[in-house]
């Protein structure tokens, strides 16, 4: 794997991590409002 491709892969993973976290927090917030 070339260094550029490795760097792109890691950047994509970082973005996935942060997107997943944002989705979980949003889902928890909605869930908390649905069941209160």
């Amino acid at each position: 794997m070339t260094p550029e491709r490795r760097a792109r892969t890691m950047t994509r993973r970082y973005a996935q991590v942060l997107a997943l976290e944002a989705a979980i927090i949003a889902a928890l917030w909605v869930f908390g409002h649905l069941y209160r």
């Binding site: 490795r6 890691m10 993973r13 970082y14 996935q16 991590v17 942060l18 997943l20 976290e21 979980i24 927090i25 928890l28 917030w29 869930f31 908390g32 649905l34 069941y35 209160r36």
Partner: protein
């Protein structure tokens, strides 16, 4: 616990010890013993990172928190994914390219020996005490549940853990962690299945969630900004971020886990595994606690989950009051069940508040009768559910999971204590050039010595609840300072050894002062400590004395 359950626990503990040792290779070399020759796959290191962080307290106390307060504790981990991304981009390349054994070794490459020694010493003191608490907290609970004495319970956790950590080194620790993570997750999923089976016999899943939600237990996110509150979105995102940066970036018990990965990218991936999985895993554990609450709406719970003090309360002047509370509790629980079954939300909430008051009264009576001011009934909720409600065989699996979590967290910590002792002190100051076999022998002796000391600390901490609090506070006093020094080392070029050393000391003084004079949540201490260390470090680096000047960064990312 029946015979089958004991057999499950015994077989499991034997298996993890034997298999951990079987998988340990080239442990006669110091790099093999301490860093697995930097050969482990990312998922092995990643599971080891997670298992080291997840102690038995996570299973016992976090489910209790879920039962009492719901999902809001999960906010503590909101800073973790971002912390993992930052660490993957910053410290991981530095540590892996510098080929260090310990995080503190890097501080000498960048600054000087005294900065390294101070950071390593703070780690050794804090981690030994913390290891004692990691062992003591579950031992106290399990001793009540299993009817053992605290010293026997501590030894039941310690002896197998010290054996596999001493003989197999980091490889045995990592492979044991892998199995333990599967057992813990499997155990929790089994508990969820049993809980759902019990609950769905009375109400639908939607009704169960409305019941839990009506008490506020499903309100996981609180956007209020209040530094005095520990569990809010902002405390988790900002304070939690710095806590996780300190823990995963500067604490040898974690750094050593990802240094065992076979490449820089695999080290990064092992950290990112926690970033992906940690919050869902915490939600699973907290949700289990919430489900236990709903389960006990339809099944009569004990007034207090810890029955160990029953005899003492019965023989005390508080006996009559306690019996009266018990009668009131039985009536109230029946009324709450009826309200829940009829879907009468207002009545359910009113009666549930009454149940809470009765429990609080019972806890106060137990504290008076037993003299145990730190008594916390929440810690006994889940273990009591396991031993009284789960089917034969699964009880053994769950008890094995709790022991597994205690051993996996403490094994990693013990292994890192031995590593810092040998690499940062023994090799650095006493025997810089000895054969590998010598360092491996010294590492094994150090592992046993730290293990025995941790057992003693655990037994002492178990008898003295306030000691656990002191230890927990110690970590928050020093972590920020150490993080600040690493920020100076990695992100600035002008910082000098003098600035780093005195910046670290200044940060600890400021954090202790803030802790003693304000009510700010401990989550913010790491941010304050790191900020002070960086600021003081940079100021003192402006005109360093000629004698303390060190070469600029030797290792570049």
């Amino acid at each position: 616990m029946r015979v089958v359950d004991w057999i499950v626990v015994a077989l499991y503990i034997t298996w993890i010890v034997v298999d951990g040792l079987r998988r340990s290779k080239r442990t006669h070399e110091v790099e093999g013993y301490l860093l697995a020759n930097r050969s482990l796959a990312w998922w092995v290191s990643g599971l080891s990172v997670m298992a080291t962080q997840m102690s038995a307290v996570t299973i016992v106390s976090t489910t209790g928190l879920g039962y009492l307060t719901g999902l809001r504790f999960v906010q503590l981990y909101f800073g973790l994914p971002l912390a993992m991304v930052i660490l993957s981009m910053t410290v991981v390349p530095f540590f892996t390219r510098a080929r260090v054994y310990t995080a503190y070794e890097y501080l000498e490459q960048r600054f000087d020996a005294r900065t390294r020694s101070l950071a390593a010493l703070l780690f050794l003191v804090g981690r030994t005490a913390s290891l004692g608490v990691t062992l003591a907290a579950p031992a106290v609970v399990m001793s009540v549940i299993l009817g053992w004495t605290v010293p026997v319970t501590v030894l039941a956790i310690c002896v197998p853990m010290i054996v596999y950590t001493t003989l197999g080194g980091v490889q045995a620790v990592a492979w044991t962690d892998v199995k333990q993570m599967f057992v813990v997750v499997g155990g929790m999923l089994s508990a969820v299945a049993i809980l759902l089976y019990g609950i769905l016999g009375h109400v639908s899943l939607g009704q169960a969630m409305h019941l839990a939600g009506s008490t506020g237990r499903l309100q996981a996110v609180d956007f209020t900004f209040n530094p005095k509150e520990t569990y809010t979105f902002w405390s988790g995102m900002i304070g939690g971020l710095f806590l996780m940066l300190s823990y995963f970036g500067c604490d040898q018990s974690q750094v050593q886990r990802y240094l065992t990965a076979r490449s820089e990218d695999e080290s990064r991936s092992s950290l990112l595994m926690s970033a992906f999985v940690k919050i869902p895993l915490q939600l699973l554990i907290l949700s289990t606690g919430v489900l236990v609450f709903v389960f006990y709406v339809f099944k009569t719970p004990p007034m207090l989950f810890n029955r160990a003090y029953d005899d003492r309360v019965a023989a005390s002047p508080q006996a009559a009051d306690y019996a009266a509370l018990q009668r009131r509790f039985d009536d109230t629980i029946a009324a709450r069940r009826d309200a829940a079954s009829n879907g009468d939300r207002d009545a359910f909430l009113r009666i549930d508040a009454e149940v809470r008051d009765i429990r609080a009264g019972a806890v106060a009576l137990v504290k008076q009768a037993s003299g145990d001011a730190g008594y916390n009934d929440a810690n006994y909720v889940f273990p009591t559910f396991i031993t009284t409600q789960m089917p034969i065989g699964l009880v053994g699996l769950m008890i094995a999971a709790i022991f597994a979590a205690a051993m996996s967290a403490s094994g990693g910590e013990l292994n890192s204590l031995a590593t810092a002792t040998v690499i940062d002190f023994y090799k650095r100051r006493f025997r810089p050039a000895a054969p590998d076999s010598h360092y491996v022998t010294v590492s094994r002796v150090a592992t046993i010595a730290w293990g025995l000391l941790a057992c003693l600390v655990a037994m002492q901490a178990a008898n003295q609840g306030s000691l656990i609090e002191v230890v927990n506070r110690y970590g928050s006093y020093v972590y920020g300072a150490i993080l600040g020094v690493f920020i100076l080392a990695i992100l600035t070029k002008r910082a000098t050894s003098r600035g780093a050393f005195y910046g670290m000391i200044a940060a600890m003084i400021v954090v202790v002062t803030v802790a003693q004079t304000s009510t700010i949540s401990y989550l913010w201490y790491n941010l304050i400590g790191a900020a002070v260390a960086v600021a003081v470090g940079l100021v003192l680096s402006v005109r360093p004395p000629a004698t303390s000047q060190r070469p600029a960064v030797r290792v570049s990312p």
